[in-house]
Symmetry: C2
Subunit: 342 residues, 2 copies
DNA sequence: AATTATTTGTGCGTATGTATC
DNA sequence: AGATACATACGCACAAATAAT
């Protein structure tokens, strides 16, 4: 159809900006030059430039010239931080979220919370959703961090968009420069195992989660401590479970794996509670020191997870990165306690 | 600083559109009229109108006139639902949030969670924040619902913007047409009290929260049940506390108020746990059936709060309203149980 | 440090075309 | 058919900011 001159000229210049003929800086010819080049009147040229300006493609500076803008020059702060954890309402997660929220609200941010249920398909759905949402930053508890993660591409997109990502509990080794807040799981495994050795145990079983990096690290601490105390690491005494098969697997294999053991290091209190109900005599050291550790008719030791702190640190870290103050990671320590600290 | 005429005029007209001086339809004076009114040139006026057009505040129709657009003619779905509760990581709230989240994510929504800590000043800050955020709906646990609420104006603004608000647990009587999901607190009070009466108690104390409507309702059920069983309602046996003074008040007054009583109805398990530790002999019926009810060295009965369900219903309700399917409220029932149901 | 040329910003005027009532 | 109002297009003039001399 017929198009007017100024729209034609506008589209003309826009194309040249997009394909790079006009890059950044002055590049744009002056109004009078364009008048000569096009043969149009200055008013018409100005109208075309006005359109470019409203499309935020160029900026005019009186007395100087018209300059091509960077594409997406400045992201406006939305004061929203997205939080992606495996679970929301259970176990240690309320405390983590509470820690995150307290720091975020203190600094005027609002949290957008989603749960992956430790499934990468959910993680993908949530992340691609969030890419379209107005957020300044992202706090993520990695999903199945011990396995190759198919969503690394999405995490990189956040980085491209300048949205900082802070990981808690676990993170993917494939990431370029991850910032994280985690508990020292390897050290935790050492403490747990050492506690049992000091009590005189030598037949110490282990139950670990295979799909989360925390499981690997706790196992590493456990195995190393056994070795350095000249106790053999017996594969038959170690059970590996995953998010999906925990309960059925424990029911089927725990009996034989623990038959010869006098003690066991459990990945967390959910497992430990189950074990404490299945075996009366066995001594347990577990992780997280949740209410389960006290609830059990057969109480067990459990390392205190600095859960609230993890949340607080993570939130503070996102805010710091946004303020260009800090890009370091933090490793928090477990504490052995027999008291109720929930 | 100095501003150019056309920007000044633009802002001038924009204000008049926003505050309603210029409503819908033609209302905008013609270009020539504006020229006469302002004393500016027609080109300047046109530039101002051009800005208005780019801001999508007006539409120009050739040969007809300039028309004011409807304010926010079509709100785009953001797929965000804000959730405002008193607390996040404690007590029954994780379960409520979990229920909310499961329904929201199932339907493709993301939740933005904030906590008021049952303070109206925090509530105000959060609500005015949320007014500027891209949300489709709002789930709120009212703050101090038994007291006159100073933030009703903000709730009305959400209504004006077509953002549905669903209340959980408690809501403000001042609201025009509240939609809510609550537990039947009055009935709960009846059940609690009846349970104690059936066990032969006649000297039944009560501890209630005065700043939340749930406290009033539970008290109403308690009082009515006493009366209908010909037991006097003795004011000296009833303690009212608030968010702020709970612990100190119980420590100071519980002793004398419960001295003559053989049983007590407690507002919730947090109170009940405290009482169960202060008094060995007294029989307790409480609300929420949290882990506290079992943790206590002195276990007590507690009505089961349908917390997960409250969250699920509330989330579904917001979604239904957005789909124009449902605008009714829901009242859920308490169940008396002595088993562990957390 | 002052001057000048360049470039954009603002304003005035005119004319033709076209859609709506 | 005519009045009205907007769209497009052009010409000219001066102001104000900037950059170069």
């Amino acid at each position: 159809m017929k198009e007017c001159k100024y729209i034609e000229l506008f589209e003309n210049i826009r194309e040249k900006i997009i394909d790079g003929t006009y890059a950044e800086k002055q590049k744009l010819p002056s109004e009078n030059e364009l008048v000569k080049a096009t043969g149009y009147s200055r008013q018409t040229v100005r109208q075309a430039i006005s359109l470019l300006e409203h499309s935020e493609l160029v900026s005019r500076v009186q007395g100087s010239g018209t300059y091509v803008n960077k594409i997406a020059p400045k992201r406006e702060a939305t004061m929203n931080i997205a939080v992606v954890t495996t679970y929301i309402g259970e176990y240690i997660f309320p405390a983590i979220l509470s820690g995150i929220d307290s720091v975020l609200t203190e600094n005027g941010y609002t949290s957008m919370i989603s749960a992956t249920k430790n499934r990468v398909d959910n993680e993908r759905k949530i992340l691609s959703d969030l890419l379209g949402k107005p957020i300044d930053g992202l706090i993520v508890e990695g999903t199945k961090t011990a396995l190759p993660n198919p969503n690394i591409d999405l995490y990189e997109k956040f980085a491209e968009q300048g949205i900082p990502v802070v990981f808690i509990n676990g993170y993917y080794p494939d990431l370029k420069k991850p910032v994280f807040v985690v508990a020292d799981d390897r050290k935790g495994g050492e403490i747990a195992c050492k506690t049992l050795i000091e009590k005189g145990h030598t037949k110490i079983a282990g139950i670990f989660k295979s799909d989360d990096i925390q499981g690997h690290r706790r196992y590493a601490g456990y195995a190393q401590t056994l070795r350095s105390n000249n106790v053999e690491v017996n594969d038959d005494r170690v059970i590996w479970y995953t998010t999906e098969n925990r309960d059925s697997l424990l029911e089927r294999y725990a009996e034989e794996a623990l038959a010869e053991s006098t003690a066991v290091v459990c990945y967390n209190d959910e497992v430990a509670l189950k074990i404490s109900r299945m075996f009366e005599g066995i001594e347990i050291v577990s992780f997280d020191n949740s209410t389960y550790a006290q609830l059990s008719a057969n109480p067990f030791l459990s390392l205190s997870n600095p859960k609230e702190k993890i949340g607080e640190y993570a939130a503070q870290k996102v805010i710091n990165i946004l303020r260009r103050k800090d890009e370091t990671s933090t490793v928090l320590q477990w504490e052995m306690t027999s008291e109720f600290t929930d």
